[in-house]
């Protein structure tokens, strides 16, 4: 059963856990875009039509396998802080919360499955798992898609495949992506070269925090660009193969980094750890940068064994929306920085005691 309050106040989404190749890959996402055949896409749909979409998809979702594990949230019944938390946890898209009326989210209790209703397309089905987990994520998404389709008439064309509001999603409607942590490639200034290669193989690289802020936290998302003319398996295998190469390059870069920098690297990661465990004021950006250094230190066994899920949790806990929702009020930036530092200290000391 989905406990809505927990979604907004606990950072324990499935994707924050441990998964294959977790030292480099934080999470894996599969997203399928689907539309109903007889109603306008959300951008042009009237309120009544959006309501029809919502009612139909909601009904179909009641027949999902393990239906009891799902709950539905109508976005206009949530506070704007709560909608922000959903974005920070990557459970909805920015586009989805722009106009919350007649928009809804069907969410599984472990937050690994979210179905956005009336996003840019009528349905955006998303599976989000920890680590590099493309096959498992695709199988689950495929199965859930089959289940929904038994109760819905999808817009589909023999040549163009699943019809989507934007032609960049046609065909499979599939966007597969992995979130990578690449601090060593960035420090050694090899990241842009690696990304250039990926682009030649049809993959898109985005910084976790948008254009121009790519180095922040050294987190990057890699996903397939094309969606038509290739089967889902082909698209996924291509992403998997290239992600595997990036993982190897990052691991090699990490070892080289330690050989080249030695004590300077040791100092960098301990310094980051020291600030995170003792600072009284932390901005969101600073927290991300320090978390990146600490994560690198943990993966190179230079720091005490903080487990990776604990660090992943901090990716959510340090975000503005989450902090304010936990406190239960909007805060000034200074108040937020104070609370953020306290939450981080709390989390990291909890971790130390349990080890």
């Amino acid at each position: 059963m989905l406990d809505q309050e927990r979604v907004f106040t606990q950072a324990d989404s499935a994707w924050l856990g441990q998964g294959p190749d977790s030292d480099v890959v934080v999470s894996t996402r599969i997203r399928l875009a689907r539309n109903l055949t007889d109603l306008p896409f959300p951008l042009l749909a009237g309120s009544e039509e959006l309501g029809q979409v919502l009612a139909r998809v909601r009904q179909a979702s009641e027949h999902l396998p393990e239906a009891k594990r799902y709950g539905i949230m109508e976005l206009d019944r949530l506070s704007s802080l709560e909608r922000q938390v959903l974005i920070e946890k990557h459970l909805v898209s920015l586009e989805h919360v722009q106009e919350p009326k007649q928009r809804a989210l069907v969410l599984r209790d472990d937050e690994a499955v979210s179905i956005m209703i009336n996003e840019e397309d009528h349905i955006r089905l998303q599976v989000l798992l920890p680590g590099l987990n493309l096959d498992q994520a695709w199988h689950l998404a495929d199965r859930l898609d089959d289940s929904l389709e038994q109760h819905l008439d999808y817009a589909f064309d023999d040549d163009l495949g699943f019809l989507t509001a934007c032609p960049t999603n046609l065909g499979s409607g599939l966007r597969a992506s992995v979130m990578l942590h690449l601090p060593a490639l960035v420090l050694l200034k090899q990241a842009s070269q690696v990304f250039g290669t990926l682009a030649q193989f049809g993959l898109v690289v985005r910084g976790l925090y948008g254009e121009g802020t790519q180095a922040l936290g050294n987190f990057f998302q890699i996903s397939n660009q094309l969606t038509l003319n290739h089967s889902e398996e082909e698209l996924i295998n291509n992403l998997k193969a290239l992600t595997g190469q990036v993982i190897e390059q990052e691991r090699a870069a990490r070892s080289r980094l330690y050989e080249e920098l030695g004590n300077r690297l040791l100092d960098m990661v301990w310094r980051a750890y020291g600030i995170l465990t003792h600072a009284r004021l932390l901005t969101g950006d600073e927290a991300m940068r320090l978390l990146s250094d600490v994560r690198l230190g943990v993966n190179l066994n230079l720091l005490p064994q903080i487990n990776l899920p604990e660090l992943n949790r901090l990716l959510v806990i340090t975000r503005s929306g989450f902090i304010q929702r936990v406190v239960g009020d909007t805060l000034s930036p200074a108040e937020r920085d104070l609370k953020r530092a306290a939450l981080v200290r709390d989390e990291l000391s909890k971790n130390n005691n349990s080890n």
């Binding site: 586009e95 898609d145 008439d153 163009l160 254009e211 038509l228 889902e232």
Partner: protein, 177 residues
């Protein structure tokens, strides 16, 4: 606290940005943060296609493709009966309005889709409810994969069965279903 920009809505997003060594701070509402393109900075990745100016991108792309102007020009402002969209609207916003748009505007859309996707042949999943050739093609694709595996594993009996099934499907496909 109210949004620094519109001074109307409550500020829920805090943006701090350093450009050329100068740090600026702002407290924005969801809407203004989005309009200023700051959401990604604070909130993390957009799960949707992240490019807010997709419309402009299409517009410039479309201008390079043949046969577009006739559909955009006022004289032939054909509307999709499903949603009321014109091709000029699409050119502006980069989004189609409904499933029927793809039939109504198929002719001018075709070169655009080829440019964006490299072709117009769907080989992925097909809804079970959907008849048509796509389902056959999809099944064929899978049978051929299975056949390759069977041959590789030297399972000749299974391979022979698969070959028969493939032949049957190919005939149905040629015979117009």
């Amino acid at each position: 606290m109210l949004c620094d920009n519109c001074k109307k809505n409550p500020a829920t997003v805090y943006v701090r940005r350093t450009v050329n060594g100068v740090t600026t701070e702002a407290h924005l509402c969801e809407q203004c943060a989005h309009e200023q393109g700051e959401w990604n900075l604070v909130m993390g990745p957009s799960l949707a296609f992240p490019d807010f100016s997709l419309g402009n991108l299409f517009a410039s792309l479309l201008d390079q493709l043949p046969g577009q102007t006739a559909f955009v020009a006022g004289g032939r402002a054909q509307r999709c009966p499903g949603c009321g969209l014109t091709y000029a609207d699409f050119r502006e916003q980069g989004r189609l309005g409904c499933a029927r748009c793809y039939t109504v505007f198929r002719q001018p859309l075709d070169p655009l889709i080829r440019r964006l996707q490299g072709g117009v042949r769907h080989v992925g999943k097909v809804p079970r409810r959907h008849g048509g050739t796509a389902r056959l093609r999809h099944d064929l694709e899978h049978l051929r994969q299975e056949l390759n595996e069977a041959v590789a594993k030297e399972e000749f009996e299974r391979a022979a069965k698969l070959r028969d099934e493939i032949k049957l499907l190919e005939e149905r496909l040629r015979g117009g279903q």
